[in-house]
């Protein structure tokens, strides 16, 4: 899922300044699960914005709404009335959600209330970790399901490097060495032979380097 974090209240105040009627719009999908932009967070952030604006001597109206999914027009339509009524939308969706709403409402200012961080998983309660860099050419099959592109600090495809110390990466004692994990995992599943393969330089043209990506499935187009 997409993992995001809320911006600080002073940052949000700066973003919505001079707007008097704000709609704080939450998303019921990834950002709800990562506790950043769901219904509860919409309520908390709206309340915080009202308090902060009153403290600053301004009177702003903050409405709250959470829709099922901000990156899908079908669900965005359910927020149409509220969006039309406000001066600006403060979206608590991921970067995709913010842009989906901005495209749908060209005349309405749409601001991002969250910092979209990464594609990851819930490691334990309150802890999320990055697992996928969306490089566009998955190599997980060769590395026992552990991604060196994301989890190795140097993104090495032929590791480990000399910075691996007692199963930890040299960048931090809290950071496991991805290549140690890969070796252990491949040993456990009897596939260490795969490590004999020397990987050529990765083709990054399928990643963000070629501009924003589009996938077209002709069999599904109307």
């Amino acid at each position: 899922m997409i993992v995001a974090q809320r911006k600080s209240i002073p940052e949000l105040q700066d973003i919505i300044k001079e707007k008097k009627n704000i709609l704080v719009l939450g998303c019921g999908t990834c950002v709800t699960v990562c506790l950043a932009g769901g219904e509860r967070e919409v309520s908390i952030i709206s309340s915080a914005l009202r308090i902060a604006s009153k403290k600053a001597g301004e009177a702003i109206k903050v409405n709250e709404l959470t829709i099922e999914r901000q990156c899908d027009n079908v669900f965005i339509e359910t927020a149409a009335d509220e969006i039309k009524k406000c001066d600006a939308v403060l979206s608590l969706g991921c970067g995709a959600g913010v842009q989906a709403i901005a495209e749908r409402y060209p005349d309405k200012p749409v601001y991002a209330g969250l910092d979209t961080a990464f594609l990851g998983i819930l490691e334990s309660r309150g802890v999320w970790t990055e697992k996928c860099a969306q490089c566009g050419a998955c190599v997980l099959a060769d590395f026992g399901g552990i991604c060196p592109v994301t989890r190795c600090a140097k993104h090495m495809l032929n590791g480990p490097c000399g910075g691996s110390r007692i199963e930890r990466c040299e960048i931090s004692p809290n950071q496991p060495c991805a290549w140690q994990l890969i070796y252990k995992r491949l040993s456990d599943i009897g596939e260490t032979d795969k490590l004999k393969k020397i990987y050529p330089a990765k083709n990054w043209s399928k990643s963000l380097d070629g501009g924003s990506r589009t996938i077209i499935r002709e069999d599904h187009r109307i």
Binding site: I9, R40, S43, I44, I51, A52
Partner: protein
């Protein structure tokens, strides 16, 4: 407004199994605490969400006190420990909003600690008196409780009319 005339309104969320019982005991013992403290009974402080604290401040409470069981003594094992984490996070959020974090405080009280409850209430009231009235309700400054009630009522009626 001077400290002599300002009577802080403190919202006290008290756990049914400890602090609420100790408030009851305080009553039986004839221990007095300031009348501006309004107690709300909650099944466990772990039930309280961040929104409750935010809404309390937003709606004009001068302070919010959360009184849960002693650590290790929660009826639901660890509800009070979760509550403390939420209170800590909310205090940081209030600071971001420009509200002094001391307006929100959590204490741990057992059912037998009536005197301690009264003491922490007095401490909270003293702290809030020093901080002054909740800064986001300037329209109530300098008004008596009766005037405040009338203003709140008028405000509610206007909202109903506008809807």
């Amino acid at each position: 407004m001077t400290d002599n005339t300002f009577e802080p309104k403190i919202l006290a969320f008290c756990c049914h199994f400890c602090a609420y019982a100790s408030a009851d005991l305080a009553g039986s013992m004839r221990l007095q605490y300031p009348p501006g403290v309004r107690i709300i009974r909650t099944p466990c402080t772990g039930r309280l969400e961040v929104e409750y604290y935010m809404r309390a401040i937003e709606n004009g409470a001068d302070g919010v006190l959360i009184a849960g069981c002693l650590e290790g003594g929660c009826h639901y094992i660890d509800g009070n420990l979760f509550a403390r984490k939420r209170v800590t996070a909310t205090r940081a959020l209030l600071e971001e909003c420009g509200i002094d974090k001391e307006r929100l405080r959590m204490v741990n009280i057992s059912a037998a600690m009536a005197k301690n409850l009264v003491d922490v209430i007095f401490e909270m009231v003293d702290t809030v008196k020093q901080l002054g009235p909740n800064p986001i309700k300037p329209q109530f400054l300098g008004k008596s409780l009766k005037q405040e009630s009338e203003m709140a009522e008028t405000c509610c009626m206007n909202e109903v009319k506008s809807e």
